[in-house]
Symmetry: C2
Amino acid sequence: MSVTIDLATMHQSAEAASRLMRVLANADRLMLLCQLTQHELCVSELEEMLDIRQPTLSQQLTVLREEGLVTTRREGKKIYYQIAPGPALAVMQVLYQQFCGAEA
Amino acid sequence: MSVTIDLATMHQSAEAASRLMRVLANADRLMLLCQLTQHELCVSELEEMLDIRQPTLSQQLTVLREEGLVTTRREGKKIYYQIAPGPALAVMQVLYQQFCGAEA
DNA sequence: CATATAATATATAAAAATATATAATGATTG
DNA sequence: CAATCATTATATATTTTTATATATTATATG
């Protein structure tokens, strides 16, 4: 039950956490994830909803994919994005509470 | 009870949230805040605990100060830092749970 | 008081990481 | 193969990080 944590361990955890924070440190990506917490959506739907240009959108989605925050599924020409389970989801919930009105 | 949120409003919230994420998107700053969630500490104590060079430390603390995540108190030559209440604290708690072992 | 020392902050500049626009490329379907 | 949906490449602008040097503030001492 020690309170002091080994520095190396703490550093590792901090690196991992800061990496997630870095992915979330962009309004476009936050909005994308926020939409995806509700239900899966394809790229063109996201583009229309959020008014982000298509290449930029695709680049941000690539970041989310590479960091494992979303998974994809192809259906014909469309690619559907879903949010993946993990720490990101927990953080998104807190952010929603804190910044988008906590409805009790 | 509408599910769709106004785009402009969402964008504003996302900007605010991403701004917080940006501040937390750095391992040094996360470790600093993590220490400060326990109790206030002065700069030299933080420097020793975390093994960060003094100017770097001071620069990171300035970021935290300017973003309102910490407050300070001078005592003689020393300046003590405390964490400020707000959304950052809520996020830090989730990060601790998720990345530093959730002890049930 | 003048000066030394300790604790912290700021300035500046160079390097690294991110973001974004435009243009080009890939995949799928009819 | 033309049209649609999406990704990648390239170039450029912007932001962040960090190191070195310097400044500030408070205390202590001769």
